[in-house]
Symmetry: C2
Subunit: 151 residues, 2 copies
DNA sequence: TTATAATGTTAGGCATGTCTAACAGATGTT
DNA sequence: AACATCTGTTAGACATGCCTAACATTATAA
């Protein structure tokens, strides 16, 4: 019953919730699209360090959910809906990254690696609090903490 | 080769890295052990909301890795090594929970749910920073942020 | 334009983690 | 002790996500 509601909410056909894995593919695809205006599957494979075969399968699934436009040997593009979803993930990523870097004083790599994983599971509520906190803290206390503990 | 090194580091036999899922089972088992001094598989099933069958399989895997003592229809206990690992996970959980709750002002449920997921993937470095920051912030600024943004 | 290289697809396999159904063993009640 | 119930195990299934190897298609360079 819960399942019924979820699956048929919104677009009435496809469940738009996607796995962490698919989110990674969509995010990579979006970033490549923004940068090159054209997306080749092999660039996604390279970005994510997976085989070409894995990328093909992921693309099929994203297309099924209408998040990208894609056909056999065809041009790949992102739908409006896909772009929104990708932007959401990227926003989460950047918010987490900023918090780790500017508030906690973590290295680029640490901030990056953790953001990449946590972006898929952090809730909206916590994310919003992190964003507000990062802003608040930066304005009021700058990098007091970084200076005191990590220098 | 990287695999070789990992698998044969330390105890020379078993790879002690465990999945998020197994970490959940170990954590639940540990908490039940602490509370009741005795662990029944069905209590783990109930705690994690999984079938008895899934718990049986998880117990087999934890035993293979020498994190618990366990045999068919036998008494279940945790090894020293398993206890250390469980405590590490629980420490991560509590540190994240405290940060979400006392610094960000999140609700019990939000703090709990997010901690449960993030505990498995956050790095040692970031975790340490979160612990230090929570301490530092609580001492110096109390709940300024909570008051300002979430009341 | 044709051979070669690069990219994309498919088939088949493997690992993890979950489930249900059926069976096995242990426990408790009378 | 015997039956009923609870708990644990196994077998078999399914979903996800990854891989390699072989094949298909497209792109590039001679």
């Amino acid at each position: 019953m819960a399942k019924f509601n979820e699956e048929y909410r919104g677009e009435l056909e496809v469940n738009k919730n996607i796995s962490s894995s698919l989110e990674d593919y969509l995010e990579a695809l979006y970033l490549i699209y923004i940068e090159h205006k054209i997306v080749k599957a092999i660039d996604i494979s390279r970005a994510l360090n997976v085989s070409r075969a894995s990328t093909t399968e992921a693309l099929k699934k994203l297309a099924e959910k209408n998040l990208i436009n894609y056909g056999r040997y065809g041009v790949i593009s992102i739908t409006d809906e896909g772009a929104i979803k990708a932007q959401e993930v990227i926003k989460k990523h950047n918010s987490l990254y900023n918090f780790f870097k500017s508030v906690l004083g973590a290295s680029h790599t640490e901030a990056q690696d953790n953001a990449c994983k946590i972006e898929h599971i952090v809730s909206k509520d916590i994310l919003e609090r992190i964003v507000a906190f990062t802003d608040y803290y930066s304005k009021n206390f700058g990098d007091d903490f970084k200076k005191k503990y990590f220098s």
